[in-house]
Symmetry: C2
Subunit: 339 residues, 2 copies
């Protein structure tokens, strides 16, 4: 990049560098005429202030870091959408890193962002995260920090969540109200808090409606994929042909379940009812349309950035900041798969 410096502007106009600098910052002790001359020349030369130098002075990068498990994922891409929209509104840029559900990658990325001196970090943990030294490092360095969706309950930071247990309870209760009495659960991996909470919600709903819990009806995803949904659907029907309802950890996996049932001519919702979680776009376009739990992903992004900005601003003003948890509402969306 051809660097146009204050020096060149000063030399061209025959004034001091200090005056040029003051003029660009609109100091009152520079005459309007000089200001105009400097601004006009700066504009015509395409001068842009050196943001590194500005950063060094203000210690602000106006950039935040975002670490998420994956981008090609309807839920996460909607959250990103919300974060970028809100950041943009407030003049912040967003560096996005994806951990690909790997803990070593996640650790490296936290280190990168800390080295980069971002003004704050927003994060959703990878499924592998069962150790949180790298997260504690963020807290120790007093970098503003917000977790959303996949959080660690042990970390004292702001969080944006839904009540996964309650949402799962409502989904399973919906199946029961539709007449299901033998309900399988395809759950998420062992570590993530939200997989644990959804499983607990499933158990609670059975309990409330006097349906005995049977651990053999619980199937655990490793990678939370479409293919796993297909494979588990087959296994469930083979092992428990009388299952009449399935609560699935997320829509992507539930769509796999429906794909297998379609291929195998198992009628949904007649023989088995299926409900997913997250309300992915594709859930409303497949056959049968999938009932699910709506999770406000865009709003989750907006709320995460807002919380982060509160903390960034408090820090700037040397005020103390008490981490807060924002809980967003969910709702069961009834479609064809549970009619």
């Amino acid at each position: 990049m051809r660097e146009i410096t204050l020096k060149q502007i000063a030399e061209t106009l025959g004034i001091s560098i200090t005056t040029v600098s003051k003029a660009l910052k609109n100091y009152p002790d520079v005459s309007p005429k000089t200001k105009k001359a400097v601004l006009d020349l700066a504009t015509s030369l395409g001068y842009t202030p050196n943001s590194f130098a500005v950063n060094l002075r203000t210690k602000e990068s106006r950039t935040i870091g975002l670490i998420i498990p994956e981008v090609v994922h309807h839920f996460f891409s909607s959250v990103i959408d919300g974060i970028i929209a809100e950041a943009e509104k407030n003049g912040y840029l967003v560096i996005i890193l994806q951990s690909n559900e790997s803990l070593p990658m996640e650790k490296k990325q936290v280190e990168l962002l800390l080295n980069k001196r971002v003004d704050g970090i927003i994060m959703s943990l990878s499924n592998d995260s069962n150790d949180d030294d790298h997260i504690k490092d963020i807290i120790r360095k007093e970098v503003p920090f917000v977790m959303f969706d996949k959080i660690s309950k042990l970390i004292p930071c702001s969080k944006v969540i839904i009540d996964d247990q309650k949402a799962a309870f409502n989904a399973v209760q919906h199946l029961i109200q539709k007449g299901c009495s033998k309900i399988a659960h395809i759950r998420g991996p062992v570590n993530p808090q939200n997989a644990i909470d959804r499983f607990l919600g499933y158990k609670k709903a059975l309990e409330k409606h006097n349906i005995p819990f049977d651990s053999k009806l619980v199937y655990t995803c490793k990678n939370v994929t479409f293919e796993e949904g297909k494979a588990f659907a087959k296994q469930i029907i083979e092992e428990h042909p009388d299952v009449d309802g399935i609560f699935v950890i997320t829509d992507l996996v539930a769509v796999g379940v429906l794909a297998y049932f379609n291929d195998a001519n198992i009628e949904v919702p007649k023989q088995v009812k299926v409900i997913g979680f997250s309300n992915w776009f594709m859930s409303q376009v497949i056959t049968p349309k999938l009932s699910t739990v709506d999770q406000p992903s865009f709003d989750m992004g907006v709320a995460s950035f807002k919380l982060l900005l509160e903390e960034i601003n408090a820090k700037k003003d040397l005020l103390s900041f008490k981490p807060r948890t924002v809980e967003l509402d969910t709702s069961v969306i009834e479609r064809e798969s549970t009619l």
Copy 2:
């Protein structure tokens, strides 16, 4: 953030700041013992080099900017995936901005990234882009720059593209080979080069197979949405009940077409065959499964970053760089909607 400076390390160890700095950079003229003491203390204090200061010295930010029309979009999120993966491999961070298909937003974002002094910019134009002063600004400032997918032919920069015309030709020829003789086209908006090229490919295929072109069979999307697909499907069947094939600009819109046909009991592929473009994930899970053109989105991201890095490195070494265009292959994927 509590700032741990070289000064503190120097004072604690009773050595000079220069020695600390040299030790951290592994200079040969510092004894291994001193190096170890500095590194140990730096690590235990959680010292991270101030990246702003490093940036100022090297004029490298190791950060690139990416501007895309939208994140919640299967094609773009896969490209992002490829870009982030390749950037990560090479030690670069990616700032992602979305233009929301708005030209004023796109201009503002280019300015932001230039002010931020990113090492390079990758971009796919918004549908609104019909003026390219802001793009010329990137070139004028000699910032390494790559365009992908939605490009402007007039800008002298590296590009990663597919041959949209050929890909569309193949898609329409596929419909013809399957027996279609009255083929409608739901095209993209007026400005984007890829919408124009796909339209030209459609025309060419008709021409080659001696099917007269009829402009009344061409329907133009404004927002390229699922809802537009539904609305156009209805309009096409009402206005031209004998249409037996539809080539749709992208899968999202084609899925809307199928949704309307399913609701209206119009049989696909029996009465009308439908082919989309881009091979979104959902195309293989809907009923009927959608035939489409596979576009290597992840590879497009990887190729874009590689080209950008070539230019960044050439610039660093003060070598001249000649922009190149990389063209990736596409293929027709036959599924149920054109059987």
